[in-house]
């Protein structure tokens, strides 16, 4: 019985905490002030392939015209 009451109490507590996160937009604030700046920094510093160095070989593949269709 005690165990059930404890579990129930924990459930109610977790629900209340989640409601506080929801109501005070704590998820939004975390994502805006912490998560987004962190990932942005990561993406800004990522090494990226210089795509403009790729040759544009227009004759590499056939024309795929299928005039017989």
């Amino acid at each position: 019985m005690k165990k059930i009451a404890k579990l129930l109490g924990m459930g109610v507590g977790a629900y209340a905490v989640l409601f506080a996160v929801f109501f005070f937009d704590l998820d939004g604030k975390f994502l805006f002030y912490v998560f987004e700046p962190f990932v942005k920094k990561h993406y800004d510093n990522m090494e990226r392939k210089d795509m403009t160095q790729m040759p544009y070989d227009m004759n590499k593949y056939p024309d795929y015209k299928y005039d017989e269709v």
């Binding site: 109501f23 987004e36 593949y61």
Partner: protein, 532 residues
């Protein structure tokens, strides 16, 4: 006593009744909430349980269902558009559903849920097959996924849907990002300009190309289908894509004219050539019976859409707000059939039927029934939620929802192909916006059909097609004595015309031309420059 009533039912909408002053909930600049809206006990807990919690949980469930956490995290670490954009997705719900109550809140939220699920499906399909997060290794999924341009209707690939998945290249990395977090797309626009593209072409084409310039698109398919939809701006995108993708590529060709037997025959033939290309590349023939099966399912979605339009047109009981209607419709009709659309329609139908049978006025503070015409600002698609809350401007219908206004016949191969060609030609931004004067002027018929008395005329500053008919519309509005607001914007780029500027234009019109008072004055001026 009034405090208890406000706590139980939520504050009333209008300033005269005390007012809920939604603008006071925001923190300055960021658009974050000091606290989320209190909608009364029932609706606040509905929002918390059935929207906020439900969607966070289902987001994770969808990630697991469509491919697993590992590939999602790998993709998140590799691609800017996923990490920066999609994690704050619940704020997208908040912005679109602000001020909504009762059945409107419920029905509109289901539409958002469907779009999130369809997005996760596409994200995970790309990541499951992506060679870039697997050190260049091509797995089985890679060989069973098609990549196509986002303006290509997904239904063209139904004939392979038992063995292959078709995911467009830009819908998730570009189009949907602009609605959820408008900051991400700036990187791609700037990237393509950094290699010499001038700043004035269509920003959609710029952003789509920029994804490739920054090497920020998964490599998930051995073949690519491009298309010149919606206009010749997309031809330039396809050229850059051909350069950067460097794979067998079939370029679907769309004549700029339609409503013409020759054009229809040309497109039908071109679709067949595209199918031939896929058969040749994959070694798997197109299964016409399967194609018909999927089309029949898609037709079911269209039939329910028509029922929704009937309710929207003829009653005050339509429970879907302007932004949910517009985004869900364009998403589902362009992507093609998915189980989530049917699940959503099955949930929305009883809500709508309840509203009709009990004659629930779903937008009780409507002052004007608005039709929104031309292409919308992607970074401020939720302007209609703001406009209803602030001014009572209720967006009943929009141009993008009306494009694919047809079912497709499956009684014979010829009829099916002919209808597929028509459907494909009625693609986003093309059927009306650049489809010729007759079609862009369908506005007057639709105004009457949907019983609208007000037009929100989108003014995409970088769309050369629409700029060409600006004056003609001005004349028509004057001759027909129709109140219309021109809403300037640059499609995905929030830096050209800010949200605050859009609101200022609407506010000015409503006060100086319409001589009306705002329903919620706290929403007139907002500093949300940094918001997602």
């Amino acid at each position: 006593m009034s405090m208890i009533k406000d706590f139980w039912y939520g504050k009333p909408h209008t300033a005269e009744e005390g007012g809920r002053r939604l603008g006071n909930n925001y923190e300055p600049k960021t658009g974050l909430y000091k606290h989320r809206e209190w909608r009364g006990v029932k609706d606040t807990f509905y929002y918390f349980n059935n929207i906020w919690l439900y969607n966070y949980i289902n987001l994770v469930m969808d990630v697991m269902k469509f491919g697993g956490l590992l590939s999602f995290v790998q993709g998140l670490w590799r691609y800017r558009w996923i990490g920066q954009t999609y994690v704050p997705v619940l704020h997208w719900f908040d912005r679109g559903l602000e001020g909504m109550r009762g059945e409107t809140l419920r029905a509109s939220a289901w539409h958002y849920r469907a779009m999130v699920s369809a997005s996760v499906y596409q994200i995970q399909t790309m990541f499951n097959a992506d060679t870039k997060i697997r050190g260049g290794k091509k797995n089985d999924d890679y060989y069973h996924t098609f990549a196509m341009k986002e303006t290509t209707w997904g239904g063209l690939f139904y004939g392979w849907s038992d063995k292959f998945k078709a995911v467009s290249m830009e819908m998730i990395p570009y189009f949907v990002t602009c609605h959820v977090n408008s900051h991400t797309v700036h990187n791609y626009i700037d990237a393509v300009q950094s290699i010499g593209l001038p700043g004035d072409p269509c920003p959609m084409c710029q952003a789509e190309s920029g994804l490739f310039v920054l090497d920020d698109l998964p490599d998930y398919s051995p073949l690519v289908i491009t298309c010149n939809e919606a206009c010749d701006g997309s031809i330039a995108t396809a050229i850059l894509q051909d350069w950067f993708i460097d794979k067998p590529l079939y370029a679907l060709q769309m004549p700029m004219q339609f409503d013409n037997d020759l054009a229809n025959a040309f497109v039908a033939k071109d679709i067949e050539k595209c199918w031939k290309f896929i058969e040749e590349q994959t070694g798997v023939p197109m299964n016409f019976d399967l194609m018909c099966e999927c089309i029949e399912r898609q037709n079911e979605i269209q039939k329910f859409e028509w029922e929704k339009w009937e309710v929207a047109a003829k009653t005050n009981n339509y429970p879907i707000n302007g932004v949910a209607q517009a985004l869900y419709r364009i998403y589902s009709s362009q992507f093609g059939d998915l189980p989530i659309w049917h699940e959503t329609d099955a949930k929305v139908r009883p809500i709508m039927e309840k509203c009709v049978s009990k004659n629930i006025n779903t937008f009780p503070n409507t002052r004007h029934r608005v039709i929104a015409w031309s292409c919308a600002p992607l970074y401020y698609s939720n302007w209609c939620t703001w406009a209803y809350n602030c001014w009572g401007l209720n967006v009943i219908m929009n141009m993008d929802s009306l494009m694919f206004d047809m079912t497709i016949r499956t009684d014979s191969y010829e009829n099916c192909l002919e209808d597929c060609a028509t459907y494909h030609m009625w693609a986003p931004m093309r059927r009306m916006a650049v489809g010729g004067m007759h079609h862009i002027f369908e506005l007057w018929d639709y105004m009457e059909r949907f019983n609208c008395d007000f037009v929100m005329m989108y003014d995409q500053l970088q769309c050369k097609g629409m700029q060409g008919v600006h004056g003609l519309f001005e004349d028509e509005f004057r001759d027909r004595n129709i109140p219309a607001i021109w809403m300037p914007h640059a499609l995905p780029d929030s830096r050209t015309v800010s949200r605050a500027e859009i609101r200022r234009i609407v506010n000015d019109y409503m006060t100086t031309v319409m001589h009306e008072e705002p329903l919620d004055p706290s929403l007139l001026e907002l500093d949300d420059d940094m918001t997602w």
